[in-house]
């Protein structure tokens, strides 16, 4: 059988940070976690529908609005610094990248402090009622995600300060940023359901 060369792969890029399969992998991970959040929120509404009378149940205050709102502002802010870091990385500006990701980690740590204040001010324990259980679970789930995003980005920051990344080799930055946007973005529906809805409905 005759064999002929159709495509010469030696001309194709080896480090293609924008079209790398890992980007799709992280996107799939995001889809899974979004599905988990959807299940958690559906469970919240199911328990709400099953409860006769007010929701949160009588005698329980809805979570205070101050600290989650601080959290809601800080997380997108940290996404902006992530985006700014990525722009630096695209231009080969290693310093801007390093400062940007470090700032994001810092902002997210601040956000975690705000989050901890909020959790401390919950009016209900997880073992008090099904409302308490689902409230603590959703909050804890998101808290864990912020922690893992911070840990991952901290590693990226260490490598950024050591000058590892450059425009060709910035896959780590790009996928970490994608995950970061997800962790920041997924808080919006959580905030709307857990914090805002009980006040306006």
């Amino acid at each position: 059988m005759k064999t002929w060369i159709d495509i010469d792969a030696s001309e194709l890029p080896r480090l293609a940070p924008r079209t790398h399969p890992l980007w799709w992998g992280i996107l799939s991970a995001v889809a899974i976690e979004a599905a988990v959040v959807a299940n958690l929120l559906a469970s919240y509404f199911y328990l709400m529908a099953q409860t006769e009378g007010p929701w949160p149940p009588a005698g329980t205050e809805a979570p205070p609005i101050l600290w989650p709102t601080v959290f809601l502002v800080l997380l997108p802010l940290s996404s902006v610094t992530m985006w700014w870091a990525g722009r630096g990385s695209d231009r080969g500006d290693k310093r801007q990248l390093a400062i940007g990701v470090t700032a994001s980690v810092g902002l997210a740590l601040l956000a975690l402090v705000a989050r901890s204040f909020q959790i401390a001010s919950f009016d209900v324990k997880w073992s008090d009622s099904a409302y308490g259980s689902i409230l603590w679970t959703i909050t804890g789930f998101h808290f864990t995600h912020v922690v893992s995003a911070i840990l991952g980005t901290a590693v990226v920051a260490v490598y950024a300060w050591r000058g590892y990344f450059n425009p060709a080799r910035q896959l780590g930055v790009i996928v970490d940023t994608l995950y970061w946007y997800f962790v920041a973005g997924i808080f919006v529906p959580i905030y709307l359901v857990l914090i805002l809805a009980p006040r306006i409905l």
Binding site: I7, R14, A29, L47, A168
Partner: protein, 653 residues
């Protein structure tokens, strides 16, 4: 991208073994893709052929063990008031049988066959994330083994495979049994999810140039649909079992009615996973059947587009049916009617597939080799199961037979017919590719016949038993109910079926030792997995190809020429990346080599999940512990010595 060769004779294939330069190239390539040998080396393998084979073998071991449990149950039910197993043991055996067959056999076996074949079928050198693949396997191996060991230690769960609350809640199930279920099932689902991500990205991005989505083999389509289903179904069972875990461990109140919880929440979450789960097993099986029908009729598939749409349709509709498991829970009439209509709707895409198979076979001269015989067995059993499926989809009928042996008969027809028979067909079909030897043809056919007869003897009487009112999950029954004869028949049948599976095992062992040596493409099939040696090379393909049609091997033969990709490195693991829809060349992915870290990560994760049975603090330990091992796993390998080592020349500035 493609260009007509100016002088096709001038270029030669890398497998032209007369050329010493080419031979040296191939040897170097094979060395690059070689998995380490030795005991420690075993834990570092990442090649998909190696991991896929392990998934398959492990799943088969769990299948045999769960099958033995089924025999124990049948022995107990042989006659009224039998005392082979006491009630408690029977419940444990039944729960472990059901759970293991679903979570430790059916899903991993389908994943295994997909992990082994999908990359070969799309012409890739390996999967997109080889280390994640290895991690998923160890998670499955450890989780599955712990789950199974709970039985001899007397710690096995005993609330059935769907583990309903409140029976499985802290009040009614003290002890560690249910905790083993909740933690290990959640843990094993992690492995299903990693496999799904892996398969999706491999199929979407690592297809060889020219294999646009409309030229992808049907099996690959089926695997893609299965993976997306896993992606959206597994989170529900993870959420459900996490709720139950927390109810049992830290006193949350998700399912505690006195504190505002709802046991029905469990059923909704479980079945939102549990129903798609059935199709997660069925869809790849349909892909196997289609591959075999194409090869053994030697024809392109009739209605390719219709079959693809049917597969996607089955995947989507299956997410809208879960409530038909809950007809007797007092749902509103409107809800029941909706889900009854939705359940019946699934017959439409299933029917489309069956008609396309019939049209493909029609007027051809099928070659009735052993894989095709297993496919015929599948047709008979699965269609019978489908008919009872239409019956139980109907609310009034279901309310009569709910929780009886009629349902047991129905789902064994669907699952054994819809998954085990196709798997066995696939085993006979791809055995030469995986092992390099043909499987014994005579014994292959006989084992199919014996299994078929045994299966029907076992499960057909259960329809009648169910109609007579025998409830499922009972460890015994009274003599004057008149169920003795049919149960005796079923038990006899189960041993015939076991003999059939024993024959398959013997056939495999004998064929491995002394089967006829298979060539690259013994069945004259049309898909790319047959375009490499049997068993496949370490690098899968000496040269990645570029395809122009949907049945490349047949067309190469007809045109007596083929196109390929050149310019991939022989000293690092490279595979070509293409665009999502049209598969135009885009870049080259450098894949990571063997490493021990996925194994270490899996061990750390296992310890933490096991710890969760005893203390919630293992959650915190788990988050940080697995994170640390992941970092070790992802650290750029050569960074420590030369920060620019993996960069192309022009970027090293």
């Amino acid at each position: 991208m493609s260009r007509v060769p100016e002088n096709p004779e001038a270029t030669t294939s890398i497998r032209d073994e007369s050329d010493p330069q080419m031979r040296a190239r191939l040897a170097e390539l094979e060395k690059t893709w070689q998995s380490p040998r030795g005991f420690i080396g075993w834990f570092t393998h990442v090649n998909h052929t190696s991991i896929g084979k392990r998934f398959l073998i492990t799943a088969m071991v769990f299948f045999l063990l769960s099958g033995l449990l089924a025999l124990a149950m049948r022995l107990q039910l042989l006659s009224p008031l039998n005392d082979v197993l006491d009630a408690q043991t029977y419940n444990q055996v039944m729960t472990v049988h059901g759970t293991a067959m679903m979570f430790l056999f059916a899903i991993p076996a389908m994943e295994g066959i997909a992990i082994y074949l999908a990359p070969l079928m799309v012409g890739a050198r390996d999967m997109a994330f080889p280390r994640l693949n290895a991690f998923g396997y160890y998670v499955y191996l450890i989780g599955g083994t712990v789950f199974f060991l709970s039985l001899p230690f007397g710690l096995a769960p005993d609330a059935g495979w769907f583990n309903y609350v409140p029976l499985s809640g802290p009040e009614h199930s003290a002890g560690y049994g249910i905790d083993v279920w909740t933690t290990m099932i959640t843990f094993i689902e992690v492995s299903a999810l990693t496999a799904a991500v892996e398969l999706i990205v491999t199929i979407l991005k690592l297809r060889v140039p020219g294999m646009s989505l409309n030229r992808m083999p049907i099996f690959v389509w089926a695997v893609l649909v299965m993976s997306f289903m896993i992606l959206f179904a597994m989170p529900s069972v993870i959420v459900a079992s996490s709720f139950l875990m927390m109810d049992r461990l830290v006193d949350t109140a998700f399912f505690d009615v006195t504190l505002g919880g709802s046991p029905l929440l469990w059923q909704h979450l479980f079945w939102f996973f549990g129903h798609p789960e059935v199709y997660i097993i069925l869809v790849p099986a349909l892909g196997i059947v289609t591959s075999i029908v194409i090869t053994f009729t030697q024809r392109p598939l009739f209605g390719y587009t219709a079959v693809v749409l049917a597969l996607v349709g089955v995947g989507m509709i299956s997410f809208g049916l879960w409530v038909h498991h809950m007809y007797t829970t007092g749902l509103p009439l409107m809800g029941r009617s909706f889900f009854m209509a939705a359940s019946t709707m699934i017959a439409i895409p299933s029917g489309v597939q069956i008609y396309c198979w019939i049209a493909t076979i029609w007027g051809s001269r099928p070659r009735y080799a052993s894989p095709m015989i297993w496919v015929l067995g599948f047709f008979a059993i699965f269609i019978a199961g489908g008919l009872t499926g239409v019956m139980v989809a109907s609310v009034p009928f279901d309310r009569q037979v709910h929780d009886t042996y009629f349902v047991v008969a129905h789902f064994h027809y669907v699952l054994i017919g819809g998954a085990v028979f196709p798997l066995m067909a696939g085993l006979h079909y791809w055995f030469p590719k995986i092992t390099g030897r043909m499987i014994g043809e005579q014994l292959g056919k006989w084992s199919c016949a014996v299994t078929f007869v045994g299966f029907n003897l076992t499960f057909f009487p259960m329809h009648q038993l169910g109609l007579e009112g025998m409830p499922r999950r009972v460890y015994t029954y009274l003599p004057d109910l008149g169920w003795g004869d049919l149960n005796l028949l079923a038990t006899g049948g189960s041993f015939v079926m076991a003999a059939g599976f024993g024959m398959i095992l013997v056939n495999i062992i004998v064929s491995l030792r002394s089967g006829e040596v298979a060539g690259d493409n013994p069945w004259n099939a049309s898909t790319l997995e047959w375009a490499t040696a049997s068993p496949p090379l370490n690098c899968n393909f000496a040269e990645q190809v570029s395809v122009k049609t949907a049945n490349p091997l047949w067309d190469w033969h007809e045109q007596n020429q083929r196109a390929m990709v050149s310019g991939l490195s022989t000293t690092q693991r490279e595979t070509i990346v293409t665009t999502l829809l049209d598969a135009l060349p885009q870049s080259v992915m450098i894949l990571p080599g063997p490493t021990i870290w996925p194994f270490v990560s899996a061990v750390v994760a296992s310890i933490c999940f096991l710890g969760l049975i005893f203390s919630p603090w293992f959650f915190v330990v788990g988050v940080f512990g697995t994170f640390a091992t992941f970092v070790m796993w992802f650290i750029p390998p050569r960074y420590t010595t030369d920060p620019n080592a993996d960069l192309p020349e022009e970027a090293k500035s």
